[in-house]
Amino acid sequence: MRPGAVGALLALTSAAGRTEVKTGDEFPALARARIVNLAGGGEALPDLTGKVVLVDFWASWCAPCKASFPVMARLHADYAARGFVIAAVSIDDKASAAAAFAKKMAPPFATLLDPEKKLVQQVDVPAMPASYLLDRHGRVRFVHQGFHGDATERELRQHIETLLAEKD
């Protein structure tokens, strides 16, 4: 049998049923997915219009997610003034667990909750954690799966710098 035929078959079957948001796609609107702010009290969602946005999916039970928070805090500190926003979306089943995690970590960026799992299902995140870097037009320009310490931070910084430098 030709190896090419087997490869094509495997690629076809593995791709079946996958609709995940990929690089180049427009990211779904947070408000439409009924995302809420973990800060509560009617706190509004962060304004993402015209900003370079990092949408990060996390959970209180995910150890690498916990490790990623200090790195995201550094990214926020370094780039927020230049139009960079982080929207960290929890996919926890229990809002109380997500709120306790956010309170403990006390990040300087917005921590949100996807209570109905609408957004995470629509995006079909391939791993936990997963980060989507959007350009100023809301288009996905970079997808990062998992968290790998310094390597992840370097990679994110490189892409954030590139997107912030884009004028239009």
Binding site: M1, G17, A59, C62, A63, V125, A127
Partner: protein
Amino acid sequence: MKTFFLAAISLLGCAVAFSGCASANLARVKPWERATLAGYDMRPDRDPLHAAMSEHTFFSREAANGGRAVGGSGCGCN
């Protein structure tokens, strides 16, 4: 010709087998559904005594020791 026929049959068999894997009827635990798997109760080494006994049994049967440690529990993160 016979080889080509066999190859075609094999390809068809593979297609049927793999299409079963792609079926929506199979239970697929998505990355965001693994909270329970990530719990402490799912850790294979949560009981030190049980872990030591299992390791001893493994060592006795396989004449090999160690190298089985996997960090964390079953959330499949990263």
